[in-house]
Symmetry: C2
Subunit: 208 residues, 2 copies
């Protein structure tokens, strides 16, 4: 135990985190069992044994609970994906690999992911800018690696490339939530990646 480096997490802060975690646990459990809309804030508060108002202090709207849960989950999974990135040969494969993870990801619980996505989209234009929930870091790394290897053009700010790719990622998620055929979606995804890399314009020297 090194007291240094750990920026003195006070008991208050610990208790707060503890409460939040408890809320997330009981809430997600209810969501999984009864569905999101059939679970009331009242019920969550009761099961977490806190006042309803306290619940609202931690999460201003019901969707925020889901958002926090997903944020935690994706942070875990990101580490893994991040490591595999370096082992892949080029940008295309890195992109495809990352996007395919999205499928497995959404598979866990479509309703939850849908709600989370909607919440984030809403806060993207209203409230402050979209935080990206950590996926931005992943995509930014792909861009960085690509530019470093001379694969990706540098005349467009990385920030823009990331943004564009992130909306592409969302498109894929949304497609997933709509359609059913996985095979079709994978083919579509490959084409979207190609579109991102090669552009929409017809050129003579096209490889394929």
């Amino acid at each position: 135990m090194e007291p240094r480096d750990v920026p003195v997490e006070s008991r208050t802060e610990r208790k707060k985190k503890e409460t939040q975690q408890k809320i997330i646990n009981v809430a997600m459990d209810s969501f999984q069992r009864q569905g999101f809309n059939n679970t009331t804030m009242e019920q969550i508060a009761e099961e977490a044994d806190i006042a309803r108002k306290t619940l609202y202090n931690h999460f201003p709207v019901k969707e925020a609970i889901v958002d926090e849960y997903v944020k935690g989950l994706s942070q875990e999974s990101n580490h893994e994906v991040f490591r595999t990135l370096q082992d892949l040969p080029d940008t295309r494969s890195r992109l495809q690999n990352t996007l395919e993870k999205v499928y497995e990801w959404v598979e866990i619980n479509p309703e939850i992911i849908g709600i989370c996505l909607g919440y984030r989209l809403k806060n993207m234009y209203q409230g402050a800018g979209y935080s990206g929930g950590g996926s931005q870091t992943l995509i930014a790394e792909i861009i960085r690696l690509g530019q470093q290897a001379g694969e990706i053009r540098q005349d467009i700010p990385a920030k823009l490339l990331v943004k564009q790719l992130d909306t592409l990622r969302m498109t894929v998620v949304m497609d997933w939530l709509h359609d059913t055929s996985r095979i079709e979606l994978r083919k579509e995804m490959a084409k979207l990646v190609d579109l991102f890399l090669n552009g929409a314009m017809l050129r003579e020297g096209r490889s394929k």
Copy 2:
């Protein structure tokens, strides 16, 4: 007056449309004056002289009123943009022209557009698929013209291209709603268009 072609709009249907229009009018008026959140459904119902429940029959949620209003507006403006498309020389200019319209468009009332966009995004993944509010038609036409002229590659389904461009359009709108500097945004938009056309990959024969 030709009774044919007009598919027998019954009096009921006329009344319904009339009521809807009245709702939209008084609602939008209140939204402009007091803001969206400061206007209650109660108030709208009262001003439109209908029961609150009737209001909910027409528009299940408050945002739906805004959505319907914007849908009407954009249908008008689309006609105009549609015509100018043919006069432009290439896909790039058509895209830029169309996207620049977005700016003027959002300028009218950012709050309204923001709410409308949020509503549509929400229904995009939850409810049925995203209707596109008519802008898809416009973009589809750009793609069609581009493919016809041999500018746009044909190995990717037009549907995908449209989808990709439409999310790009949304990105632009969202940027607009966040940032302030118009000049920056226009530059950014031009780069996004270039990104869409030429792709993210570095190539030897790049013109610029």
